[in-house]
């Protein structure tokens, strides 16, 4: 199907999904579309990493329900990643602050130019600066504050530089912080470090089945480049695992001292702290609940609550993988949406690739070659799954069944 006269891009057939599913283009050309959220009335809000015409949030509406947004408007003068709808509010994050907009009975933002500032002064040193957010059902807001470092070396990403013990970055980053979802002008002083030892989280979601925060960690880079005596290029492309963690207050996932090796199924001491790829460590650190291959870059996590998809998908986790760069000189991997079945708030089977070929390439040498890269995930009120792309700003709508 041709979308329109001036754009012959036939993407609807490009994305590979399981039998019975269909992929449509909800919107395109939005720019660097990061996280996406839907109101119960069907309005989509999308956060941009770069301003377009001076604005950083896109609102999309599909009033005639044909699967394509025909109404678009923009507001918000800040860049960022986080975007969540909860109750009568839309939450959005820049790389150092978190804002709250009020939604009216139609799911429309009433204070476009004057959001409430919930949190301010979060550390932003560019590396892993995205402040991805999630909310529980008790009025708490959870924020990723990514570590501004790869492995907490004295000199970041530098061969021969030792790891800092203890890692000072963990005081203000490398974890999930908890704030109130309703108080203004909160800072580090009024927030709580909820979980630590997490290098960088972009995909996170609250699991309502067991009332628990789940996060997807971006694992460390450059094992081969920094420690060729212990790792070859192939091992370094696969290691460490990109981990899904189920968090409780006070948990420590072990970064930077350890990483998780999905082949040995062990927490391995990081080479910056005396490891050699075999020595284990992190006895007090939690284990992941799912371990994916290395460097796939999980940027979106969504627990599916809808009724449109078959029973298998109910309460399961979708993960949007942005796609790797730190697998070079091996081929790059990822650039897909994966699915993990869940029962009772726990994974009940292995992960599978759900939607693939966003890159539109059969073989990827470098991430710049990918035509699209999945980033954010949201469920529409009808149970359709939406996937954003932050290269060209396409929003894919994945449906199941007749329509």
């Amino acid at each position: 199907m041709i979308l329109s006269g001036f754009n012959p891009h036939v993407e609807e057939d490009t994305i590979k999904v399981p039998t019975g599913f269909k992929v449509g283009i909800f919107a395109e050309g939005l720019g660097t579309a990061r996280h996406i959220a839907f109101t119960p009335q069907g309005n989509a809000y999308i956060k941009l990493a770069k301003l377009v015409d001076g604005k950083g949030i896109v609102m999309l509406q599909d009033a005639d329900k044909d699967g394509k947004a025909e109404k678009k408007s923009m507001f918000g003068d800040f860049t960022g990643t986080g975007m969540v709808v909860k109750g009568n509010y839309l939450y959005a994050s820049s790389d150092q602050e978190i804002f709250r907009y009020t939604l009216d009975a139609n799911g429309v933002v009433t204070n476009r130019d004057s959001p409430e500032k919930l949190v301010t002064g979060l550390i932003n040193r560019r590396q892993h600066a995205a402040k991805a957010i999630a909310l529980d059902n008790k009025g708490n807001l959870y924020v990723n504050i990514g570590a501004f470092s790869n492995a907490c070396q004295e000199v970041d990403r530098t061969k021969g530089s030792k790891g800092m013990m203890p890692c000072p970055i963990l005081d203000s980053a490398g974890g999930i912080w908890q704030f109130s979802a309703a108080k203004m002008n909160q800072t580090y002083g009024t927030g709580k470090r909820y979980a630590t030892g997490l290098r960088n989280i972009v995909g996170l979601d609250w699991n309502t089945e067991n009332d628990q925060l789940f996060v997807m960690q971006h694992g460390r880079d450059m094992l081969f480049q920094l420690y060729p005596e212990y790792f070859d290029a192939k091992q370094s492309a696969e290691l460490p695992a990109e981990c899904m963690y189920a968090l409780k207050q006070g948990d420590d996932a072990g970064w930077p001292y350890i990483y998780y090796d999905q082949n040995q199924k062990k927490k391995i001491l990081a080479p910056e702290f005396g490891g050699d790829g075999k020595k284990t460590g992190g006895e007090k650190a939690i284990d992941p609940v799912v371990a994916f291959p290395g460097h796939l870059a999980p940027n979106g996590l969504l627990f599916y609550k809808g009724k449109m998809f078959p029973t298998k998908y109910k309460n399961g986790a979708f993960i949007a993988f942005h796609g790797s760069w730190n697998r070079a000189p091996e081929k790059q991997q990822g650039y897909f949406v994966a699915f993990v079945p869940f029962k009772g708030g726990k994974p009940s089977g292995p992960y599978e690739v759900f939607a693939d070929n966003f890159s539109e390439l059969t073989s990827i040498d470098a991430p710049g070659q990918a035509v699209h890269r999945p980033c954010g995930l949201a469920e529409g009120p009808d149970g359709a799954l939406y996937v954003t792309d932050d290269v060209k700003g396409t929003v894919y709508k994945i449906t199941y069944g007749g329509k």
Binding site: V155, D156, R157, P329, A366, P367, G368
Partner: protein, 138 residues
């Protein structure tokens, strides 16, 4: 006054002299670039990628940017000292570049010659002496 014939001979003679010089310069650049590719593959490829395209938003591209094509001294300093929080042709990149001061002057010259003559770049070679001068004066 030289006759036309003499001029032609003289021109041809000059031309014959110049061709080997050009050829040997070209082969020196080629050899340096070959050595530079090895240095690139070992030290640079992981972040800047096999085609020099970098990683969008994270690691700068080396394809035709003003930093690669422009001032050689600035480029040499970036390799020796690293780089972060710097806008390159209107783009910001999140990951810092570590210093590569442990590379020899010859290796720095070779890898920059390779980068400046590949990835859609057609710039002049970087000489070892240029790196030595910058390193001393940095």
């Amino acid at each position: 006054m030289m006759g036309v014939r003499q001029k032609c001979v003289k021109f041809a003679f000059r031309f014959l002299m110049i061709v080997p010089i050009l050829a040997s310069t070209a082969s020196v650049i080629a050899q340096t670039a070959d050595k530079g590719k090895l240095v690139y593959d070992t030290n640079c490829l992981a972040c800047h990628q096999i085609d020099g395209s970098g990683v969008p938003m994270l690691n700068p591209t080396l394809q035709g940017t003003s930093f690669v094509k422009g001032d050689k001294a600035r480029l040499i300093r970036i390799v020796l000292n690293g780089l972060k929080n710097t806008e390159i042709d209107g783009e910001m990149y999140d990951n810092p570049m570590p210093p590569f001061a442990s590379l020899s002057d010859e290796d720095v010259a070779a890898v920059l010659t390779f980068v400046r003559s590949n990835f859609k770049n057609k710039e002049s070679a970087v000489k070892t002496e240029e790196v030595t001068t910058i390193r001393k004066g940095k």
